[in-house]
Symmetry: C2
């Protein structure tokens, strides 16, 4: 699973949103998603860890999850070359020539 597939899942985007406000323990995140069971949230967190979007630090019995600064940057790097497409409304040909 790569970072694009990771953020394609709405629940994981929700987790990212929660973690962007402040760090949360795993249990707090479970409580924030009442539609899901604890194992379901735990697996989403594992995926977010594996693609580098979040990190977990142990705090006694708990695990505190935090958003990693460089995780989403990989998506931003991908989207950057296309940004002028909607910002300037250039035609594809004009863009191509600009790149020469």
């Amino acid at each position: 699973m790569d970072v694009f597939e990771a953020v394609a899942e709405p629940t994981r985007r929700h987790l990212i949103s929660l973690l962007s406000e402040r760090d949360h323990t795993a249990g707090e995140l479970v409580d924030s998603l009442p539609a899901l069971t604890q194992p379901a949230v735990s697996r989403h967190l594992r995926i977010l860890r594996e693609v580098g979007l979040v990190e977990a630090r142990p705090d006694g019995q708990r695990r505190v999850y935090a958003l990693r600064p460089d995780g989403l940057q990989r998506i931003d790097d991908w989207i950057t070359p296309y940004r002028r497409f909607w910002r300037d409304h250039l035609t594809a040909l004009e863009q191509h020539l600009e790149n020469q």
Copy 2:
């Protein structure tokens, strides 16, 4: 399928990249992806059309595909609030306070 799932697929990101250089007919895109059959590429193009990332205009017998300027903007809008996370390397708490 939403725009996030659409771009999560590597082949579809490849198609977006090709279309960002210039418009292509469906056949040209098929030729650019020799690992896939024509129906497979056609289905990817349908998905990209359905989520608004590309548009097709008929040109006689052919269909010319073009990248839509506003398609990827929805992903950019989502990522924008998190951009400061990697740009400024602020802590989550500092960001939260900034938003007050």
